[in-house]
Amino acid sequence: MDNLHFLFAAFAAMWIVLFSYLMRLNRRTGELGRQLEELELKLLEQKGDSPDS
């Protein structure tokens, strides 16, 4: 049935769009989480170096 193919295509498209977006979110969250940790470490190191704080 041709109609079934279109129905499938529409559902597939929806899943692809939603999944790609979700995966992109997850990936960026992971990357940024790592960057955040790195930067926090660096900030601690800097604080340790300078005698004032």
Partner: protein
Amino acid sequence: MRSTSFSYLIFATMLIALGAIFLWVPTEQEMGIIQRIFYFHVPSAICAFIAFFLVFVGSVQYLRTREDKWDRLALCAAELGVVFGLIVLISGPLWAKPVWGVYWRWEPRLTSMLITFTIYAAYLMVRDYGAHSTQAPRLGAVFGILAFVNVPLVYYSVDLWAADQQLHPPRNVELAPAMLYTKWICYAAFFLLLLRLLAQRMELARIETAVARLRQKLSDEV
């Protein structure tokens, strides 16, 4: 954890919705099986508009309070509106081909959705091109307010333009009970999905702000 149980809830609702769409609800007489697209085409459209409204709220509140969280809401909601809008614009033509014979027709509803989509895509570009400046949130807020005010005008004017092309299925169709229940289940499933995606995107935005702030702090201290 609240977040995990919420995710399970969404998963369950979606599964039920899928079951309802494919296994339970009867096939519509006129259009046949392709009508089932309607069960996620319409909820996606509604979610897109809820998202666009949230962009408006975030924009107004940001200009009033200048609190970052409102700006984050506007940005995240705009992204989600564009995502759901994309689903509407892809599923629409895929429904149209079997039913009308063509993928696209410049009929009111689809055309208005396309225009609205481009408006919010432009919003995302405004945010993008001011990404590392302090102006992006403010300019985005201005555009976000104008964009939402324009939406009803877009719909009205396109309706006016294509008054002879009312091909889109009318809004208030009488639905059989099974179809009605399926429709409501799908509304619920998509709405929950919107909330979840919004929460996750906002968390990401919060981390982005934190990273940018830390970078700034580090370069200041040097």
